[in-house]
Assembly symmetry: C2
């Protein structure tokens, strides 16, 4: 038996079901899952698979995955794209759609997304529209994509009018979250993904947040706690998605920390050297709770506890932590006003009555946001 | 009261419901419907509409439609594209998606397709993917699009690998089939659309075929029979689509005449000067019944009756009617083998036991098709 096969045998796999009726699927979480991807994917019954990946991830895993699929009877090909957000473009969409058609992928066949959120979003969208929909499998290779973008079926590309403005809801047939792939993830990316893990506790699961406080070392080290954190995050997101697949209501809870976070990403012009998505979310989570406290909704001690935990893992938590500055109050408000969640002179926020007690709060007056942000900016100067 | 308003009041509107659960919608059929499009569309409750049209149809109706929408409280804009199949491209897709976003169309708002099948397919696809899906309304302006492409939710663009290979299933919220718009349709386009009308009778409604034989003059003349023919065609297609929305079974019946027809379109290189889709379908319908007769499935007299009717309205019915020739047997078989309906050495045909008794016939050996086509070509030479 090879070492890889022995490791596989020792792997304990956690299965997270996503019960979406005739679009139901499983998320499998565990170390070394990519080693058994061939038989797992072949069990879906397709005859062919087109693997979509990027120039960072492809050289590490694409060939092995392709061979594993072929060994299990699937015709397989690899499409490799440049890494980075710019790949979520119309140009890539055409290129990948044509490559998938060139690979003779039929209705019953598969597109396999091997990469982070960019690859998952693009490949999922391609799968949604080639031949009006083929099946797809996600093999997310970052913590962020394992706990966030691989759950829920949102796919898409960016337009010059904004991010993710063109896309489809298309559920995967299977998600393989191999937590061993995170061993080589840069720590900054690991932290950024961790902000989304913490978010699930803050939304509606105070016990999970406390568990994160106690176990974050194990998550970062790649111990069994990492698998459990990924699985629990997927369970949390799946529960919300099942209640509201197409985001007409409850699914907005997943935007906790994101109204502030998206504004900061806009202000830093999506320059990942300054701020990545998860860092914006970390600051946003802290601000959402501080804003809730300022509105008298929640205890300031809850916000302080959250800030302390985000800080201990090395995440930014304050407007003053944004490299190059967060802009003026007016710039921040403008950036928020471009968000989908704005109606008239008021904004929709996700606020909280405490850790694990978040709720959708429509109709928050822009003036209250202004007063809060002014205080935050002044405090950072003093 | 204006003349237009008086005409509207005298219009009898036929409502064809398409009962697709939470995607249910109505097809309205009648003369002068475009005059009351504003209130009908406004009743859907949107705040804005982006009208997508082409350079032929737009100058005739787009401004009036836009004003009618605005008079009923909808912000409205017009996007005009070149006419013709080449508009179903990635380039147009990007252009229209960006124009719709520029027009600030939100989730609850509308894309309105004003044109024939090309505009309907493209605009419907844009509606399916902008913001992961906005609503859309079809105002089909050709007989073909009124009875075929505006029913059933198939949307899409062409790829260099083939027609309609990239797209989505996206049901409209409303279809307004104004039969008066067909008064100015070139007779060749009218005939081509009529081939699809006849098809519905041939699939499973012998009475409707007999009714067409008796009433085709009224349909072409714009009498009340035209409204009834459009409505009955929509009812027929809707019944099939409701049974099989995503084409996994019964919906293939709608391909009656299309395996031969698509092959002829390919051989004539989609050159509409030589052959338009409906002409290919007319020849294909006759061949499907002649092939069924050759296989001993149906009486040759049924095929002869169909051919006589198609000929009387001025449609081509034989391979020898293709301007510039239909190619050799091998070329025809090759063109059929490129069709989605081919598996291994056998083809899936829609065959018939008689008029109104069509069925899906998988596993028809290529050799039987070859023998039949050889006979057809030899007969045309003698």
């Amino acid at each position: 038996m090879s070492i890889a096969a022995a490791q596989v045998q020792n792997t304990s796999v956690i299965t997270v079901p996503v019960p979406l009726g005739d679009r139901a699927y499983d998320i499998l979480v565990g170390r070394g899952l990519i080693e058994v991807a061939g038989p797992r994917i072949a069990a879906l019954g397709a005859r062919a698979a087109a693997i979509v990946t990027d120039e960072h991830v492809g050289p590490l895993y694409a060939q092995a995955l392709s061979q594993s699929l072929q060994a299990n009877g699937l015709r397989s090909s690899v499409i490799t794209l440049p890494p980075g957000e710019a790949t979520k473009s119309y140009t890539s969409l055409e290129r990948v759609c044509d490559a998938v058609l060139e690979a003779k992928i039929e209705r019953g066949d598969l597109v396999v997304a091997l990469g982070g959120g960019v690859i998952g979003d693009l490949a999922g969208f391609v799968a949604a529209i080639v031949r009006r929909g083929v099946r797809f499998v996600q093999v997310p290779t970052t913590l962020l994509s394992q706990v966030d973008s691989s759950v829920g079926g949102k796919t898409g590309i960016n337009s010059r009018h904004g991010k993710n403005l063109v896309g489809a809801f298309h559920q995967p047939s299977l998600v393989l979250a191999d937590t061993a792939l995170l061993d080589t993830l840069p720590v900054r990316e690991m932290r950024a993904g961790y902000a989304e893990v913490v978010k699930y506790g803050l939304i509606d699961d105070a016990r999970f947040f406390a568990w994160c406080e106690a176990n974050w070392h194990g998550i970062f080290n790649g111990d069994l706690e990492r698998d459990e954190a990924v699985a629990q995050s997927c369970r949390s997101k799946a529960a919300v998605v099942v209640r509201d697949e197409h985001e007409t209501g409850d699914r907005a809870l997943l935007n906790l920390g994101h109204t502030f976070g998206h504004a900061l990403e806009r202000i830093t012009r999506y320059d990942s050297a300054r701020l990545v998505h998860g860092e914006g979310v970390a600051i946003g989570l802290n601000l959402a709770f501080r804003f809730s406290a300022a509105l008298g909704l929640c205890a300031i001690s809850d916000a302080e506890r959250i800030e302390a935990h985000l800080a201990v893992v090395g995440l930014p938590t304050r407007l003053s932590h944004v490299p190059g500055g967060c802009g003026t109050v007016d710039e921040l408000l403008d950036a928020m006003a471009q968000d989908k969640k704005v109606k008239g002179g008021s904004l929709t926020f996700i606020l909280a009555k405490g850790i694990g007690q978040s709720f959708i709060a429509p109709g928050i007056e822009a003036e209250k946001v202004r007063a809060f942000l002014t205080g935050e900016i002044n405090a950072s100067r003093s």
